[in-house]
Symmetry: C2
Subunit: 304 residues, 2 copies
């Protein structure tokens, strides 16, 4: 079974307004609510690709109940650990610009961290763990490393998709995949890339630390898949970018889809990029037919 | 029994941020959630004054469930009619300024309007109906008038506290109380008041339309109680205004408290102003001891 872990999920509350003025009373034209969280997105995209997964992490209160209900609607299994405090609500205000207000979310304690590790402790090398997004407050800060360590000890393959501080602490435990976008990779090395060679050589430094595969998404410049001895480059298909939220999570789901079908690296990169692009071209996460439609449009070449 | 009607309640989601910039990602330092809605506030303040009431109106979804849970915590009876769509979430961003984003809320249909009127239809002249705040979308627009008409036919006393368009349509049905603040009264007559006499003469025009009592709150300039043949003025007690949200609703609750105790007009105005001021001096709605502490500080004089 594939387990997606979302330590700090959210309700994403999207408020459409004609104008947004600080210091005043603004009114919405309409609102939408989504179950937010990178691991949850991975589970949702896997579901449309007809791959079952179990969503886990931490959830609390009436807002957490909303997320569980949404997952049930999508027919996604969930195994969240319950917190006393409400899961956060993040607000996205869409007027002329997009303004976001993110809440920090509830704190997890030591015993709740242990509960999550206990869930992983019974998994086997036939399972797969995907850890995505921001950590929980409190003891959650070190949880990424502990999850990675446990997966490594038990030979459970795991994927990491998180910001610099959280990701790097897991590299020595040999994640199957680390998936930064170009800006995240630049931030990791505090530099600006000027060429593909530059990106590849920095990705190799991550490979050297233990990571098995790095996929770097570069927006309209395509994507690179780098292993210890191979490099592939995909060109992004043409299309109108509508929504980049969840595109990275879809890329991860595409990678997992390819792995489940035992595709080679070249085909894996195709599915990863098709999934990410299909979501970027949709208003919500992509559907399976949208992903499959893009597959043939994606050119992948082996660089080395 | 006292029935407070909130047609379009809300969760008030308060987000504290150090800065709030449009077009950027802002992060909260903390958040709070409240069961919002003017009728609900009236019920809450009545509760602290040890007067039971039943909160009714429309509620829906997981957000509605939050409000019902909150009312249960306050030990307030509720009898809301359930809608398919979620009760709205209003966002209040507290940084240097206060920015509000109000959602419009779910639509009510004809049959749901009838359900509310059916609730009122079984009441008697010994009950009291309080209609406060904004109307629901859809058929809710005319509901204020229908409630008022029904109350009038069945001789059920009712109080109206709503904006111009909603309030005026009820005046001919002889509400027991209409409670505008000075700005709402100015808006009703599209004018600016320059003296108490000016306010009183305009309030009399409302009395002439059928309203039995008008209380006009004037912030730090005090409040006026006007009937067809009497006028009383209260001076506002001194204190630091912390939060004006719910102050008007507390004034209504103070009026009801005085009515339950069969106080005269002079004492009624004292309790109304003490309740409103006590809430303005608190971070949330006032507690009973805070109201009672102010009673002796409030000077009321009969103007005519």
């Amino acid at each position: 079974m594939i387990y997606t872990i979302t330590l700090n999920p959210s309700i994403d509350y999207v408020m459409f307004t004609q104008q947004m003025t600080v210091g005043e009373l603004n009114r919405t034209t309409r609102t939408e609510k989504y179950a937010g969280g990178k691991g949850i997105n991975v589970s949702r995209l896997l579901k449309t690709l007809e791959i079952d997964s179990t969503a886990t992490g931490y959830i609390g209160g009436f807002t957490g109940r909303f997320i569980l209900d949404e997952l049930e609607k999508y027919d996604i299994k969930s195994q969240f650990i319950t917190l006393d405090r409400d899961t956060r609500i993040n607000v996205k205000i869409k007027s002329e610009n997009e303004t976001e207000i993110n809440a920090s979310g509830p704190i997890v304690n030591e015993s709740q961290c242990k509960q999550l590790l206990d869930q992983i402790n019974i998994l086997t090398p036939n399972d797969l763990v995907v850890v995505s997004g921001s950590s929980a407050k409190g003891h959650g800060k070190t949880l990424y490393k502990e999850i990675a360590k446990l997966c490594n000890e038990k030979q459970i393959p795991f994927i990491i998709d998180a910001e610099k501080e959280l990701a790097t602490q897991t590299f020595e435990y040999k994640p199957l995949l680390y998936k930064p976008n170009i800006h995240e990779l630049e931030a990791m090395f505090d530099t600006t890339f000027t060429s593909d060679e530059d990106i590849i050589s920095h990705a190799r430094k991550i490979i050297d630390q233990g990571v098995q595969t790095v996929i770097v998404s570069m927006g309209e410049d395509g994507a690179l898949l780098i292993t210890d001895n191979e490099v592939y480059k995909a060109l992004t298909p043409t299309g109108e970018v509508i929504n980049t939220v969840g595109a990275g999570d879809s890329t991860v789901a595409g990678f997992i889809y390819a792995r489940e079908h035992q595709y080679n690296h070249l085909k894996t990169l195709k599915y990863a990029v098709a999934s990410g692009s299909a979501t970027a071209f949709s208003s919500d996460l992509a559907q399976k037919d949208e992903v499959l439609k893009l597959i043939n449009e994606i050119k992948v070449q082996k660089l080395s």
